[in-house]
């Protein structure tokens, strides 16, 4: 069955670590830009205009209701057919684009949930004082919503760390891709267990910090 886990780790740990860096990087980019885009989608979703609202609803449902891998294939192969300018994007950029779009749908729901969880009376009080809707959103609602949003957003990052394994299908350098790399060295089972171990350690550590963050935010109420 070939060399053991420790031996494979000792020989190839730079490759696994490079994969881990890739994974964390993809997840961070996806969640960061996904959050920016997600805020925008959430605003559309909360709009009273029925058409704008419907666009957001369709966007969120399509991206949450179809598998990320399918989205990646469609983005990579068929988006440039519809929009020829997109041919300028590299394969990695398509993968990142898919991750961002996918993440934005989940983040927009997190943000929407955070905003709607703020008591309606807060908006009424602010508006009755004559505060503009923009100031009301930015100064009154968002600071309160953030407390609900932050932990969920951190959990989304943890979920995204696992989702990025699909980037390996497109040979983007992340943790799962190291399996393809080492399969060329006829290492079959060892990389899988090492990769699983790394995912587990990273997600457990991050979950611990999210718990800590939740406690801190709860204490400040």
């Amino acid at each position: 069955m070939g060399p053991g886990l420790i031996e494979v780790w000792m020989l190839y740990y730079p490759i696994f670590l490079k994969g881990l860096v890739g994974t964390l990087k993809y997840a961070a980019i996806a969640v960061f830009f996904g959050t920016l885009l997600g805020c925008f989608i959430a605003i559309l979703h909360l709009s009273k205009n029925k058409i704008i609202n419907a666009i957001a609803v369709v966007y969120v449902n399509v991206l949450r209701g179809t598998p990320l891998l399918v989205q990646m294939y469609i983005a990579y192969f068929f988006l440039p057919m519809a929009f020829p300018v997109m041919n300028a994007l590299s394969k990695e950029q398509y993968v990142i684009l898919s991750l961002i779009l996918n993440s934005s749908a989940y983040v927009s729901e997190i943000i929407r949930g955070g905003i709607t969880s703020v008591d309606k009376g807060q908006t009424e009080a602010a508006r009755s004082l004559g505060m503009s809707s923009k100031n009301c959103m930015m100064q009154i609602i968002m600071p309160q919503a953030v407390k609900n949003i932050l932990p969920s957003l951190a959990n989304e990052y943890i979920a995204m760390i696992k989702e990025t394994s699909l980037a390996g299908t497109f040979m983007c350098y992340e943790l799962m891709y190291t399996r393809t790399l080492l399969a060329n060295k006829f290492l079959m089972w060892q990389p899988l267990f090492i990769i699983a171990g790394i995912y587990l350690v990273v997600t457990l550590v991050l979950s611990f910090f999210v718990k800590l963050l939740e406690k801190r935010l709860a204490a400040s109420d």
Binding site: P3, I6, V8, Y12, M81, T169, M171, L182, N184, L192
Partner: protein
């Protein structure tokens, strides 16, 4: 209860392996030393040297149209491949570069067209999709000639190393070797066989082992894992790949071609020998240019050098019978 015991057994076995592994000498190659004894040695030019000195075929490009014209205009040739198939295409573990004899061929084609080569790596089943959706100009991924493939894509003339024999066979666990004495022994109800989706072996199993149960996987290492874990009884692959994996398995797996001369029957196919390059249907000008380049390459005996240098670089033995 039985399941629990199996799990415990597997865990013990793995811990055992971990322990063994850590005790072993500080070997810089992960390959088992046993296989190094009868290691094949290549004393020709190394991979990088071959790549640098490839040169180019002389072809007439004045009548170029369609995709070929746009390649020449852009100055870039995009080739899609699935780098999980050493020595034809694989990723250099240290540099992350995509290498292999097919990639040297791709470089040679690019040189001959006077353009830059850009390699796009992806899943095997995605390679041909990339060609048909214009994501890539050519698909070069150890493709064999298949009827239905030829209907959907422009396929080039075949290319192969001078001595590489085109055999397609099955790999099994060594302990099962007694059960199989002919190809017909695999054509049994309930026997489970893996093949890589859309590969030649996929077609062979479908056509010739109709009684067996075929499972499709997306990469060769999945086949190995399934064979190892007993999910399947045999995996279909070409003889070179089977030989390499068998050698790397410490005697766990054997190739029935090496052991008993069992192979798929290829006489029933109207096939082009060796591997082919795929282009989008209708890109006649492009495939004609590729054919011209391949013909000149084969005539000059250049491909064998590419193939052996790639074997040497990937650390696998070439699949010839000499």
């Amino acid at each position: 209860m039985k399941k629990l015991l199996t799990v415990l057994f597997v865990v013990c076995m793995m811990l055992n392996l971990v322990a063994c592994g850590s005790n072993e000498k500080e070997n810089t190659e992960p390959v088992n030393p046993d296989t190094q004894e009868n290691a094949w040695v290549w004393d020709g030019p190394k991979y990088d040297e071959v790549k640098e000195t490839l040169g180019a075929a002389t072809i007439d490009l004045t009548a170029a149209d369609g995709k070929l014209a746009s390649i020449l205009e852009k100055g870039v040739l995009v080739v899609a491949t699935s780098p999980d198939y050493p020595p034809s295409e694989y990723v250099d573990v240290n540099t992350g570069d995509i290498k292999g004899s097919d990639m040297l061929l791709a470089q040679y084609i690019a040189n001959s067209l006077g353009v830059t080569l850009q390699i796009e790596a992806m899943d095997f089943s995605a390679v041909l999709t990339a060609v048909s959706t214009d994501k890539a100009d050519l698909g070069i991924s150890g493709f064999g000639y298949k009827e239905d493939r030829a209907e959907q894509y422009e396929l080039s003339h075949g290319y192969q190393s001078g001595t590489a024999a085109s055999h397609h066979t099955l790999m099994i666990k060594k302990e099962d070797l007694d059960k199989f004495n002919s190809l017909e022994d695999f054509n049994v109800e309930g026997l489970k066989i893996d093949a890589q989706a859309n590969s030649l072996q996929h077609m062979y199993v479908e056509d010739q082992l109709t009684n067996a149960t075929l499972t499709l996987v997306s990469s060769i290492d999945q086949e190995i894992l399934e064979l190892q874990s007993g999910k399947v009884d045999a995996v279909a692959m070409d003889a070179t790949t089977a030989k390499n994996y068998a050698e790397q398995s410490n005697g766990m797996f054997v190739s029935v071609w090496e052991e008993k001369g069992i192979e798929f029957d290829l006489t029933m196919y109207d096939q082009t020998a060796g591997n082919v390059v795929a282009a989008k249907k209708g890109e006649v000008s492009l495939i004609n240019a590729v054919n011209e380049i391949i013909d000149q390459m084969m005539e000059a005996g250049l491909y064998s050098t590419m193939y052996y240098a790639a074997c040497d670089d990937a650390g696998v033995a070439p699949g010839d019978d000499e």
